[in-house]
Assembly symmetry: C5
Protein backbone atom coordinates (compact mmCIF):
# COMPACT_ATOMS: atom_id res chain seq x y z
CA UNK A 1 0.00 0.00 0.00
CA UNK A 2 1.08 3.58 -0.53
CA UNK A 3 0.96 6.52 1.84
CA UNK A 4 -0.51 9.75 0.54
CA UNK A 5 -2.28 12.95 1.46
CA UNK A 6 -5.78 13.89 0.35
CA UNK A 7 -5.55 17.11 -1.66
CA UNK A 8 -8.81 17.43 -3.57
CA UNK A 9 -12.19 16.24 -4.76
CA UNK A 10 -13.43 14.96 -8.12
CA UNK A 11 -16.95 15.62 -9.35
CA UNK A 12 -18.38 13.47 -12.13
CA UNK A 13 -22.11 13.42 -12.75
CA UNK A 14 -22.05 10.91 -15.57
CA UNK A 15 -20.57 7.64 -14.27
CA UNK A 16 -20.74 3.88 -14.64
CA UNK A 17 -24.03 2.89 -13.01
CA UNK A 18 -22.60 0.86 -10.15
CA UNK A 19 -20.38 3.73 -8.97
CA UNK A 20 -23.13 6.15 -7.98
CA UNK A 21 -22.84 7.40 -4.41
CA UNK A 22 -19.11 6.76 -4.10
CA UNK A 23 -16.80 9.61 -3.03
CA UNK A 24 -13.74 10.26 -5.24
CA UNK A 25 -10.73 12.08 -3.74
CA UNK A 26 -7.41 13.23 -5.23
CA UNK A 27 -4.45 11.70 -3.37
CA UNK A 28 -0.85 12.95 -3.55
CA UNK A 29 1.58 10.13 -2.71
CA UNK A 30 4.04 10.96 0.06
CA UNK A 31 7.77 10.54 -0.38
CA UNK A 32 9.08 7.43 1.38
CA UNK A 33 12.47 7.80 -0.23
CA UNK A 34 14.20 10.35 -2.41
CA UNK A 35 13.48 8.85 -5.83
CA UNK A 36 9.70 8.92 -5.38
CA UNK A 37 7.96 11.24 -7.83
CA UNK A 38 4.63 9.57 -8.44
CA UNK A 39 1.72 11.57 -9.75
CA UNK A 40 -1.46 12.28 -7.91
CA UNK A 41 -4.33 9.91 -8.59
CA UNK A 42 -7.98 9.44 -7.71
CA UNK A 43 -9.08 7.05 -4.97
CA UNK A 44 -12.46 6.01 -3.62
CA UNK A 45 -13.08 6.82 0.04
CA UNK A 46 -15.60 5.10 2.31
CA UNK A 47 -14.10 5.84 5.73
CA UNK A 48 -14.57 9.60 5.88
CA UNK A 49 -11.16 10.91 4.82
CA UNK A 50 -10.91 14.63 4.22
CA UNK A 51 -8.56 17.26 2.80
CA UNK A 52 -5.18 17.10 4.54
CA UNK A 53 -5.58 13.60 5.98
CA UNK A 54 -2.61 11.24 5.62
CA UNK A 55 -4.04 8.02 4.25
CA UNK A 56 -3.07 4.45 3.30
CA UNK A 57 -4.19 3.54 -0.23
CA UNK A 58 -4.59 0.16 -1.94
CA UNK A 59 -4.04 0.25 -5.70
CA UNK A 60 -4.87 -2.16 -8.49
CA UNK A 61 -7.73 -4.58 -8.79
CA UNK A 62 -7.47 -5.42 -5.10
CA UNK A 63 -9.31 -2.14 -4.61
CA UNK A 64 -12.30 -3.76 -6.28
CA UNK A 65 -12.71 -6.03 -3.27
CA UNK A 66 -14.19 -3.29 -1.13
CA UNK A 67 -17.59 -4.86 -0.86
CA UNK A 68 -18.48 -8.43 -0.09
CA UNK A 69 -20.58 -8.74 -3.21
CA UNK A 70 -19.62 -8.05 -6.83
CA UNK A 71 -16.31 -6.26 -7.58
CA UNK A 72 -16.44 -2.67 -8.84
CA UNK A 73 -14.43 -1.07 -11.68
CA UNK A 74 -12.15 0.99 -9.42
CA UNK A 75 -8.37 0.75 -9.05
CA UNK A 76 -7.62 2.73 -5.88
CA UNK A 77 -9.28 2.93 -2.46
CA UNK A 78 -8.37 4.64 0.80
CA UNK A 79 -8.20 1.81 3.35
CA UNK A 80 -6.98 3.69 6.41
CA UNK A 81 -6.37 7.12 7.90
CA UNK A 82 -2.86 7.04 9.30
CA UNK A 83 -2.16 8.04 12.89
CA UNK A 84 1.62 7.61 12.69
CA UNK A 85 4.42 5.87 10.80
CA UNK A 86 7.50 4.75 12.75
CA UNK A 87 10.58 4.29 10.56
CA UNK A 88 13.45 2.59 12.40
CA UNK A 89 16.13 2.47 9.67
CA UNK A 90 17.43 4.84 6.98
CA UNK A 91 16.58 8.45 6.31
CA UNK A 92 13.15 8.19 4.76
CA UNK A 93 10.46 10.65 5.63
CA UNK A 94 6.91 9.51 6.10
Amino acid sequence: MKIGTVIGNVWATRKEDNLRGLKFLVVQPELLNKSNNDSSFIAVDRIGAGIGDKVMVTQGSAAAHMASDTPLPIDAIIIGIIDSVDIERGGENG
Copy 2:
Protein backbone atom coordinates in the same frame (compact mmCIF):
# COMPACT_ATOMS: atom_id res chain seq x y z
CA MET B 1 -7.96 6.16 -11.10
CA LYS B 2 -6.32 8.46 -13.60
CA ILE B 3 -7.63 11.61 -15.23
CA GLY B 4 -7.29 11.94 -18.99
CA THR B 5 -8.70 13.48 -22.12
CA VAL B 6 -10.27 11.54 -24.97
CA ILE B 7 -8.24 12.27 -28.11
CA GLY B 8 -9.17 9.59 -30.63
CA ASN B 9 -10.85 6.41 -31.77
CA VAL B 10 -9.57 2.91 -32.48
CA TRP B 11 -11.07 0.72 -35.18
CA ALA B 12 -10.44 -3.02 -35.11
CA THR B 13 -12.61 -5.35 -37.15
CA ARG B 14 -10.95 -8.57 -36.05
CA LYS B 15 -11.29 -8.91 -32.27
CA GLU B 16 -11.70 -11.42 -29.46
CA ASP B 17 -15.28 -12.63 -29.76
CA ASN B 18 -16.57 -11.28 -26.45
CA LEU B 19 -15.43 -7.73 -27.25
CA ARG B 20 -17.70 -7.09 -30.24
CA GLY B 21 -19.82 -3.97 -29.88
CA LEU B 22 -17.53 -2.24 -27.40
CA LYS B 23 -16.25 1.29 -28.17
CA PHE B 24 -12.47 1.83 -27.91
CA LEU B 25 -11.14 5.37 -27.36
CA VAL B 26 -7.62 6.80 -27.13
CA VAL B 27 -7.05 8.59 -23.80
CA GLN B 28 -4.21 11.03 -23.07
CA PRO B 29 -3.48 11.16 -19.32
CA GLU B 30 -3.59 14.65 -17.82
CA LEU B 31 -0.74 16.01 -15.75
CA LEU B 32 -1.52 15.98 -12.04
CA ASN B 33 2.04 16.91 -11.17
CA LYS B 34 5.15 17.86 -13.06
CA SER B 35 6.80 14.46 -13.35
CA ASN B 36 3.87 12.87 -15.18
CA ASN B 37 4.69 11.83 -18.73
CA ASP B 38 2.54 8.76 -19.29
CA SER B 39 1.71 7.61 -22.78
CA SER B 40 -1.70 7.57 -24.34
CA PHE B 41 -3.58 4.31 -24.08
CA ILE B 42 -6.82 2.73 -25.22
CA ALA B 43 -9.85 2.50 -22.93
CA VAL B 44 -13.31 1.02 -23.34
CA ASP B 45 -16.18 3.49 -23.06
CA ARG B 46 -19.79 2.65 -22.17
CA ILE B 47 -21.02 6.01 -20.85
CA GLY B 48 -20.91 8.05 -24.04
CA ALA B 49 -17.58 9.88 -23.75
CA GLY B 50 -16.45 11.82 -26.82
CA ILE B 51 -13.43 13.63 -28.21
CA GLY B 52 -12.29 16.36 -25.82
CA ASP B 53 -14.08 15.04 -22.74
CA LYS B 54 -12.08 14.94 -19.50
CA VAL B 55 -12.58 11.48 -18.08
CA MET B 56 -11.77 9.28 -15.07
CA VAL B 57 -10.22 5.95 -16.09
CA THR B 58 -9.80 2.70 -14.16
CA GLN B 59 -6.79 0.64 -15.23
CA GLY B 60 -5.77 -2.95 -14.64
CA SER B 61 -7.92 -6.00 -14.24
CA ALA B 62 -10.44 -4.02 -12.21
CA ALA B 63 -11.61 -2.74 -15.59
CA ALA B 64 -12.77 -6.26 -16.35
CA HIS B 65 -15.49 -5.89 -13.72
CA MET B 66 -17.64 -3.69 -15.91
CA ALA B 67 -20.42 -6.17 -16.29
CA SER B 68 -22.10 -8.25 -13.63
CA ASP B 69 -21.42 -11.45 -15.50
CA THR B 70 -18.12 -12.87 -16.75
CA PRO B 71 -15.03 -10.61 -16.77
CA LEU B 72 -13.71 -9.36 -20.14
CA PRO B 73 -10.09 -9.21 -21.35
CA ILE B 74 -9.76 -5.40 -21.11
CA ASP B 75 -7.40 -3.38 -18.91
CA ALA B 76 -8.82 0.17 -19.06
CA ILE B 77 -12.34 1.59 -18.89
CA ILE B 78 -13.73 5.12 -18.70
CA ILE B 79 -15.79 5.16 -15.49
CA GLY B 80 -16.79 8.82 -15.37
CA ILE B 81 -16.92 12.09 -17.30
CA ILE B 82 -15.42 14.71 -15.03
CA ASP B 83 -17.29 17.92 -14.27
CA SER B 84 -14.53 19.45 -12.11
CA VAL B 85 -11.52 18.68 -9.96
CA ASP B 86 -10.86 20.81 -6.90
CA ILE B 87 -7.26 20.72 -5.71
CA GLU B 88 -6.77 22.36 -2.31
CA ARG B 89 -3.01 21.91 -1.80
CA GLY B 90 0.12 22.22 -3.97
CA GLY B 91 0.54 23.49 -7.51
CA GLU B 92 -0.83 20.64 -9.56
CA ASN B 93 -2.99 21.24 -12.58
CA GLY B 94 -5.97 19.07 -13.21
Copy 3:
Protein backbone atom coordinates in the same frame (compact mmCIF):
# COMPACT_ATOMS: atom_id res chain seq x y z
CA MET C 1 -4.89 -1.30 -23.72
CA LYS C 2 -1.67 -0.71 -25.57
CA ILE C 3 -0.99 -0.56 -29.28
CA GLY C 4 1.92 -2.56 -30.63
CA THR C 5 3.35 -4.37 -33.63
CA VAL C 6 3.97 -8.10 -33.79
CA ILE C 7 7.70 -8.60 -34.40
CA GLY C 8 8.44 -12.23 -33.58
CA ASN C 9 7.60 -15.67 -32.25
CA VAL C 10 8.49 -17.49 -29.05
CA TRP C 11 9.00 -21.25 -28.94
CA ALA C 12 8.86 -23.08 -25.62
CA THR C 13 8.41 -26.83 -25.53
CA ARG C 14 8.33 -27.17 -21.77
CA LYS C 15 5.39 -25.15 -20.42
CA GLU C 16 2.78 -25.06 -17.67
CA ASP C 17 0.31 -27.80 -18.60
CA ASN C 18 -2.71 -25.59 -19.21
CA LEU C 19 -0.84 -23.43 -21.76
CA ARG C 20 -0.24 -26.11 -24.39
CA GLY C 21 -1.51 -25.13 -27.83
CA LEU C 22 -1.39 -21.39 -27.24
CA LYS C 23 0.55 -19.15 -29.66
CA PHE C 24 3.10 -16.74 -28.11
CA LEU C 25 4.15 -13.65 -30.10
CA VAL C 26 6.65 -10.86 -29.39
CA VAL C 27 4.98 -7.44 -29.43
CA GLN C 28 6.81 -4.11 -29.72
CA PRO C 29 4.70 -1.29 -28.20
CA GLU C 30 4.09 1.64 -30.54
CA LEU C 31 4.80 5.20 -29.51
CA LEU C 32 1.66 7.08 -28.64
CA ASN C 33 3.65 10.01 -27.34
CA LYS C 34 7.29 10.98 -27.16
CA SER C 35 8.18 9.64 -23.73
CA ASN C 36 7.20 6.07 -24.55
CA ASN C 37 10.11 3.65 -24.46
CA ASP C 38 8.55 0.41 -23.28
CA SER C 39 10.25 -2.89 -23.92
CA SER C 40 8.94 -5.64 -26.13
CA PHE C 41 6.98 -8.34 -24.36
CA ILE C 42 5.29 -11.64 -25.10
CA ALA C 43 1.53 -11.88 -25.68
CA VAL C 44 -0.83 -14.77 -26.36
CA ASP C 45 -2.66 -14.61 -29.68
CA ARG C 46 -5.92 -16.38 -30.50
CA ILE C 47 -7.21 -14.24 -33.37
CA GLY C 48 -4.61 -14.99 -36.02
CA ALA C 49 -2.23 -12.05 -35.74
CA GLY C 50 0.99 -12.27 -37.72
CA ILE C 51 4.33 -10.55 -38.12
CA GLY C 52 3.86 -6.86 -38.94
CA ASP C 53 0.26 -6.61 -37.75
CA LYS C 54 -0.63 -3.60 -35.60
CA VAL C 55 -2.48 -4.98 -32.62
CA MET C 56 -4.33 -3.95 -29.45
CA VAL C 57 -3.01 -5.74 -26.34
CA THR C 58 -4.55 -6.21 -22.89
CA GLN C 59 -2.00 -6.54 -20.10
CA GLY C 60 -2.22 -7.75 -16.52
CA SER C 61 -4.44 -10.37 -15.03
CA ALA C 62 -7.35 -9.23 -17.18
CA ALA C 63 -5.61 -11.22 -19.93
CA ALA C 64 -6.40 -14.34 -17.94
CA HIS C 65 -10.08 -13.82 -18.74
CA MET C 66 -9.72 -15.04 -22.30
CA ALA C 67 -11.78 -18.13 -21.81
CA SER C 68 -15.11 -18.50 -20.14
CA ASP C 69 -13.82 -21.22 -17.84
CA THR C 70 -10.83 -21.17 -15.48
CA PRO C 71 -8.33 -18.28 -15.76
CA LEU C 72 -4.86 -19.01 -17.22
CA PRO C 73 -1.46 -17.84 -15.92
CA ILE C 74 -0.84 -15.30 -18.72
CA ASP C 75 -0.43 -11.52 -18.42
CA ALA C 76 -0.80 -10.27 -22.01
CA ILE C 77 -3.19 -11.13 -24.85
CA ILE C 78 -3.77 -9.66 -28.29
CA ILE C 79 -7.45 -8.67 -28.30
CA GLY C 80 -7.71 -6.98 -31.70
CA ILE C 81 -5.97 -6.36 -35.01
CA ILE C 82 -6.15 -2.60 -35.59
CA ASP C 83 -7.53 -1.21 -38.83
CA SER C 84 -6.90 2.44 -37.96
CA VAL C 85 -6.40 4.88 -35.10
CA ASP C 86 -7.78 8.41 -35.46
CA ILE C 87 -6.10 10.95 -33.19
CA GLU C 88 -7.91 14.29 -33.12
CA ARG C 89 -5.73 16.28 -30.72
CA GLY C 90 -1.99 16.75 -30.13
CA GLY C 91 0.96 15.46 -32.12
CA GLU C 92 1.02 11.80 -31.16
CA ASN C 93 1.71 9.14 -33.72
CA GLY C 94 -0.22 5.91 -33.69
Copy 4:
Protein backbone atom coordinates in the same frame (compact mmCIF):
# COMPACT_ATOMS: atom_id res chain seq x y z
CA MET D 1 8.00 -11.27 -5.76
CA LYS D 2 10.30 -8.60 -4.41
CA ILE D 3 12.91 -8.80 -1.67
CA GLY D 4 12.88 -6.11 0.99
CA THR D 5 13.71 -5.24 4.57
CA VAL D 6 11.17 -4.33 7.22
CA ILE D 7 11.97 -0.82 8.45
CA GLY D 8 8.90 0.41 10.29
CA ASN D 9 5.32 0.18 11.48
CA VAL D 10 2.13 1.93 10.41
CA TRP D 11 -0.63 2.78 12.87
CA ALA D 12 -4.10 3.56 11.57
CA THR D 13 -7.07 3.48 13.93
CA ARG D 14 -9.72 4.29 11.32
CA LYS D 15 -9.68 1.55 8.66
CA GLU D 16 -11.91 -0.38 6.29
CA ASP D 17 -13.91 -2.73 8.50
CA ASN D 18 -12.50 -6.00 7.16
CA LEU D 19 -8.89 -4.95 7.82
CA ARG D 20 -9.12 -4.71 11.62
CA GLY D 21 -6.49 -6.81 13.40
CA LEU D 22 -4.02 -6.89 10.49
CA LYS D 23 -0.42 -5.76 11.06
CA PHE D 24 0.95 -3.16 8.60
CA LEU D 25 4.73 -2.85 8.16
CA VAL D 26 6.91 -0.49 6.08
CA VAL D 27 9.13 -2.44 3.65
CA GLN D 28 12.20 -1.02 1.89
CA PRO D 29 12.90 -2.96 -1.34
CA GLU D 30 16.43 -4.34 -1.59
CA LEU D 31 18.59 -3.71 -4.62
CA LEU D 32 18.79 -6.74 -6.89
CA ASN D 33 20.56 -4.75 -9.56
CA LYS D 34 21.97 -1.28 -9.89
CA SER D 35 18.98 0.46 -11.50
CA ASN D 36 16.61 -0.37 -8.65
CA ASN D 37 15.38 2.69 -6.78
CA ASP D 38 11.89 1.74 -5.70
CA SER D 39 10.21 3.52 -2.84
CA SER D 40 9.27 1.98 0.45
CA PHE D 41 5.71 0.71 0.71
CA ILE D 42 3.35 -0.80 3.26
CA ALA D 43 2.72 -4.54 3.40
CA VAL D 44 0.49 -6.72 5.55
CA ASP D 45 2.30 -9.28 7.72
CA ARG D 46 0.79 -12.46 9.13
CA ILE D 47 3.92 -14.56 9.70
CA GLY D 48 5.57 -12.56 12.47
CA ALA D 49 8.11 -10.45 10.57
CA GLY D 50 9.89 -7.74 12.56
CA ILE D 51 12.15 -4.74 12.11
CA GLY D 52 15.32 -5.73 10.23
CA ASP D 53 13.97 -8.97 8.77
CA LYS D 54 14.68 -9.61 5.09
CA VAL D 55 11.37 -10.61 3.56
CA MET D 56 9.74 -11.79 0.31
CA VAL D 57 6.73 -9.64 -0.66
CA THR D 58 3.88 -10.33 -3.10
CA GLN D 59 2.43 -7.17 -4.66
CA GLY D 60 -0.76 -6.47 -6.57
CA SER D 61 -4.14 -8.07 -6.20
CA ALA D 62 -2.55 -11.48 -5.68
CA ALA D 63 -1.93 -10.23 -2.14
CA ALA D 64 -5.67 -10.28 -1.65
CA HIS D 65 -5.60 -14.08 -1.81
CA MET D 66 -4.19 -14.40 1.69
CA ALA D 67 -7.23 -16.02 3.15
CA SER D 68 -9.28 -18.85 1.77
CA ASP D 69 -12.48 -16.86 1.99
CA THR D 70 -13.27 -13.43 0.54
CA PRO D 71 -10.40 -11.30 -0.87
CA LEU D 72 -9.31 -8.21 1.08
CA PRO D 73 -8.52 -4.71 -0.27
CA ILE D 74 -4.73 -4.98 0.21
CA ASP D 75 -2.01 -4.85 -2.46
CA ALA D 76 1.11 -6.13 -0.66
CA ILE D 77 1.74 -8.99 1.76
CA ILE D 78 4.89 -10.46 3.28
CA ILE D 79 4.83 -14.12 2.22
CA GLY D 80 8.18 -15.30 3.60
CA ILE D 81 11.10 -14.40 5.85
CA ILE D 82 14.23 -15.02 3.80
CA ASP D 83 17.01 -17.21 5.15
CA SER D 84 19.36 -16.72 2.16
CA VAL D 85 19.48 -15.80 -1.52
CA ASP D 86 22.05 -17.54 -3.73
CA ILE D 87 22.87 -15.61 -6.91
CA GLU D 88 24.94 -17.66 -9.36
CA ARG D 89 25.37 -15.17 -12.25
CA GLY D 90 26.08 -11.45 -12.57
CA GLY D 91 27.02 -8.90 -9.95
CA GLU D 92 23.70 -8.32 -8.21
CA ASN D 93 23.52 -7.97 -4.48
CA GLY D 94 20.71 -9.51 -2.52
Copy 5:
Protein backbone atom coordinates in the same frame (compact mmCIF):
# COMPACT_ATOMS: atom_id res chain seq x y z
CA MET E 1 4.99 -12.08 -20.41
CA LYS E 2 8.63 -11.22 -19.88
CA ILE E 3 11.73 -13.12 -20.90
CA GLY E 4 14.41 -13.67 -18.29
CA THR E 5 17.24 -15.89 -17.12
CA VAL E 6 17.23 -17.87 -13.89
CA ILE E 7 20.19 -16.67 -11.81
CA GLY E 8 19.59 -17.89 -8.26
CA ASN E 9 17.57 -19.52 -5.52
CA VAL E 10 15.69 -18.13 -2.54
CA TRP E 11 15.41 -20.01 0.74
CA ALA E 12 12.72 -19.06 3.24
CA THR E 13 11.78 -21.42 6.03
CA ARG E 14 9.04 -19.29 7.52
CA LYS E 15 6.34 -18.74 4.88
CA GLU E 16 2.61 -18.26 4.41
CA ASP E 17 1.12 -21.71 5.03
CA ASN E 18 -0.22 -22.34 1.54
CA LEU E 19 3.18 -21.73 -0.08
CA ARG E 20 5.03 -24.67 1.46
CA GLY E 21 6.71 -26.92 -1.09
CA LEU E 22 6.93 -24.26 -3.83
CA LYS E 23 10.32 -23.51 -5.43
CA PHE E 24 11.36 -19.82 -5.55
CA LEU E 25 13.95 -18.72 -8.15
CA VAL E 26 15.62 -15.37 -8.86
CA VAL E 27 14.98 -14.23 -12.45
CA GLN E 28 16.95 -11.53 -14.27
CA PRO E 29 14.82 -9.98 -17.07
CA GLU E 30 16.49 -10.06 -20.50
CA LEU E 31 16.79 -6.95 -22.62
CA LEU E 32 14.24 -6.89 -25.41
CA ASN E 33 15.17 -3.35 -26.31
CA LYS E 34 17.75 -0.85 -25.19
CA SER E 35 15.75 1.03 -22.57
CA ASN E 36 15.08 -2.06 -20.47
CA ASN E 37 16.71 -1.96 -17.05
CA ASP E 38 14.31 -3.91 -14.86
CA SER E 39 15.47 -5.39 -11.59
CA SER E 40 15.71 -9.05 -10.78
CA PHE E 41 12.71 -10.55 -9.04
CA ILE E 42 11.55 -13.82 -7.50
CA ALA E 43 9.28 -16.22 -9.39
CA VAL E 44 7.70 -19.55 -8.51
CA ASP E 45 8.76 -22.48 -10.68
CA ARG E 46 6.80 -25.70 -11.17
CA ILE E 47 8.23 -26.91 -14.50
CA GLY E 48 11.79 -27.70 -13.48
CA ALA E 49 13.68 -24.56 -14.54
CA GLY E 50 17.29 -24.31 -13.39
CA ILE E 51 20.17 -21.85 -13.21
CA GLY E 52 20.95 -20.47 -16.67
CA ASP E 53 17.63 -21.39 -18.27
CA LYS E 54 15.95 -18.72 -20.41
CA VAL E 55 12.36 -18.58 -19.23
CA MET E 56 9.00 -16.93 -19.94
CA VAL E 57 7.48 -15.34 -16.80
CA THR E 58 3.92 -14.23 -16.04
CA GLN E 59 3.70 -11.36 -13.56
CA GLY E 60 0.87 -9.91 -11.52
CA SER E 61 -2.11 -11.65 -10.05
CA ALA E 62 -2.46 -13.82 -13.13
CA ALA E 63 0.38 -15.82 -11.60
CA ALA E 64 -2.03 -16.80 -8.85
CA HIS E 65 -3.97 -18.88 -11.37
CA MET E 66 -1.40 -21.66 -11.40
CA ALA E 67 -3.65 -24.21 -9.79
CA SER E 68 -7.20 -25.06 -10.63
CA ASP E 69 -8.32 -24.54 -7.05
CA THR E 70 -7.87 -21.50 -4.82
CA PRO E 71 -5.48 -18.71 -5.95
CA LEU E 72 -2.16 -18.30 -4.10
CA PRO E 73 -0.50 -15.07 -2.90
CA ILE E 74 2.26 -15.04 -5.53
CA ASP E 75 2.89 -12.42 -8.23
CA ALA E 76 5.32 -14.15 -10.63
CA ILE E 77 5.52 -17.64 -12.08
CA ILE E 78 7.76 -19.25 -14.70
CA ILE E 79 5.33 -20.55 -17.34
CA GLY E 80 7.77 -21.86 -19.97
CA ILE E 81 11.40 -22.67 -20.69
CA ILE E 82 12.23 -20.93 -23.96
CA ASP E 83 13.75 -22.88 -26.84
CA SER E 84 14.13 -19.86 -29.15
CA VAL E 85 12.82 -16.38 -29.90
CA ASP E 86 12.64 -15.26 -33.54
CA ILE E 87 12.59 -11.48 -33.97
CA GLU E 88 11.76 -10.42 -37.52
CA ARG E 89 11.89 -6.60 -37.23
CA GLY E 90 14.12 -4.06 -35.51
CA GLY E 91 17.38 -4.48 -33.66
CA GLU E 92 16.22 -6.01 -30.37
CA ASN E 93 18.15 -8.81 -28.77
CA GLY E 94 16.36 -11.70 -27.10
